[in-house]
Amino acid sequence: MKRLALAVALVLLASLPWWVGNSYYINVATQMLIYAILALGLNVLVGYAGLVTLGHAGLFGIAAYAGATLVNAGHGHVVVTIGALAATLAVTAVFAVLALRGTGLGFVMITVALGQIVWGIAYRWISLTNGDNGVSISARPSPFGISLLSADAFYWATLAVFLIAVAAMAIFVASPFGAAVRGTRDQPRRMTALGYNVWLTRFVAFLFSGFWSGVAGLLYLYYNQFVSPQAVALSASAEALLMVIAGGTATLLGPIAGAVLVIIMKYIASAYIERWNFVLGAIFVVIVIFMPEGLVPGSVRLWRWAISLLRPQAPPVLRRESGR
């Protein structure tokens, strides 16, 4: 059943440009995939490691800015990709070393500060980032000679990266290292007593998370062919965090569902509803009240409950009345 659902989902995703037709909606789907990759990466920290961060847009932006700088310096796209991801990993390592000094609220506040430093650099270091005007690039890559200029082609390229990200997450979650990361979330003290290096486990999880944020950032750059401080703002980090929490933390499908929800509200519902932010907020409130575990696990729970109602109930056992 699961394999059938997976096959259907793959066919639907791969054929999306044909059945959607309109290039605007294909581009919206591309953005869903880009943000889903960011949310999947963020979920490694928030969901599996139990470390809530509000600085991931900074890592997303580092990849985009580094990529833009390398493209404009005349480098080929292989060098741009490697350089941008290496820069993201280097900055992620710095983020991790600093943020992992704290836990709980302290960790969150350090990530906020680090994210804001990246935003400050993007906004104020004009000679490097062009400030508020942002940085444009003139071309998208053409892997294996295939042009990615059309909406369809870029969607498929993004879909390929997205599927790799999902597969990487599935392998990570099922691995011994994934189990260790979850263990550090649930019982760090016990994990230390069992011989685990809790700090290093979290550090490696942070790098893995940062890597996928960088991949999403690079796709964002190629998609928009432009990056500005807006991409690294605190609101962008909060939006990514909401995607993870709304969809369901520590699940594979949750962050994807959260990304789809936010992008639908942002790019589709906003065309019809002026105050779409208000509606998005209301949706989050409803999710928190009725599905505190998130959209995906909550829907599964409600589905099981509905199925149990439809199943024929066993006749109640009659109690024998005691004689008086």
């Binding site: 392998i171 990570f172 099922a174 691995s175 011994p176 290292f177 994934g178 189990a179 260790a180 979850r182 263990g183 649930d186 019982q187 003290r189 016990r190 994990m191 230390t192 007593a193 069992l194 011989g195 685990y196 290096n197 809790v198 490696v204 893995f208």
Partner: protein, 245 residues
């Protein structure tokens, strides 16, 4: 060679001395009981031995190896395992997964992000064998959250045994158990082979005295009395602390 030796161990939280010049020598294979009233510093002593707390002064030796400056996680790799007074398990995971995590802690496999944990048949089989040792193999696939308190106590012990420790520290393993469960857990501890040295903290004197070969009495972070069961029970200081005589 001693299994565990503490030399002039000291620890203070601000102005409060919780461990005061504690000297302790436990021989290989020995069953040592540490008793004392609440606040005597028993669990703090365990935390110092395992490295969860850093000693202000003194030395901790495990089979003549100085552990004092060694990180807590490394001490597990050197043969030190413990259980907790307050049960510290992974409640969302199954019993088998809890013990697997314990086995994984000493294996280089814990860093591997590329293989499936479910595919590590040797590891999973060892986890089930360890659960069988504590009589819980029939519940291996049940989440911890759906087990009784007594069963969780056994999982705590299984997790410690899974690491094949040289020295096992049991922190109040009978806490919160019924009389029958206490007897069961005591019988279980009795099956642990002699190549494992056991140091146990316990309040329940009736059960604990059956276990102990030598007893150390702690009071306000100091070793007050040490000796055999008979010596400690007869000692006036023990009677003073416990009975107010």
């Amino acid at each position: 060679m001693t299994a565990l030796a503490l030399h002039d161990l000291n620890k203070a939280f601000g102005g409060l001395r919780v461990t005061s010049s504690v000297n302790l020598v436990v021989e290989p294979g020995e069953r040592r009981l540490i008793i004392g009233p609440n606040g005597a510093g028993k669990t703090t002593l365990f935390n110092l031995i395992t490295g969860e707390l850093r000693a202000d002064a003194g030395r901790i030796m495990l089979f003549d190896r100085d552990l004092t400056g060694i990180a807590a996680r490394r001490r597990a790799h050197l043969g030190l395992a413990r259980t907790y007074q307050i049960i510290t398990l992974f409640p969302g995971e199954t019993l088998a997964r809890n013990v697997t995590l314990s086995l994984l802690g000493l294996s280089p496999l814990r860093w591997n992000p590329f293989v499936r944990l479910k595919g590590q048949h040797g590891l999973l089989a060892r986890a089930r064998e360890t659960l069988a040792r504590v009589g819980l193999d029939h519940l291996a696939d049940r989440p911890v959250g759906q087990t009784s308190y007594g069963e969780r106590r056994r999982v705590e012990i299984a997790m410690a045994l899974a690491q094949s420790p040289k020295v096992l520290l049991l922190d109040e393993p009978f806490a919160g158990l019924s009389v029958e469960e206490r007897r069961d857990v005591l019988a279980l501890i009795g099956t642990i082979p002699r190549d494992v040295t056991i140091v146990m903290i316990e309040h329940d004197m009736d059960v604990a005295l059956e276990f102990a070969e030598r007893i150390t009495v702690l009071h306000f972070g100091q070793v007050i009395v040490e000796g055999t069961r008979a010596e400690v029970v007869q000692h006036p200081r023990t009677r003073e602390i416990y009975l107010g005589e």
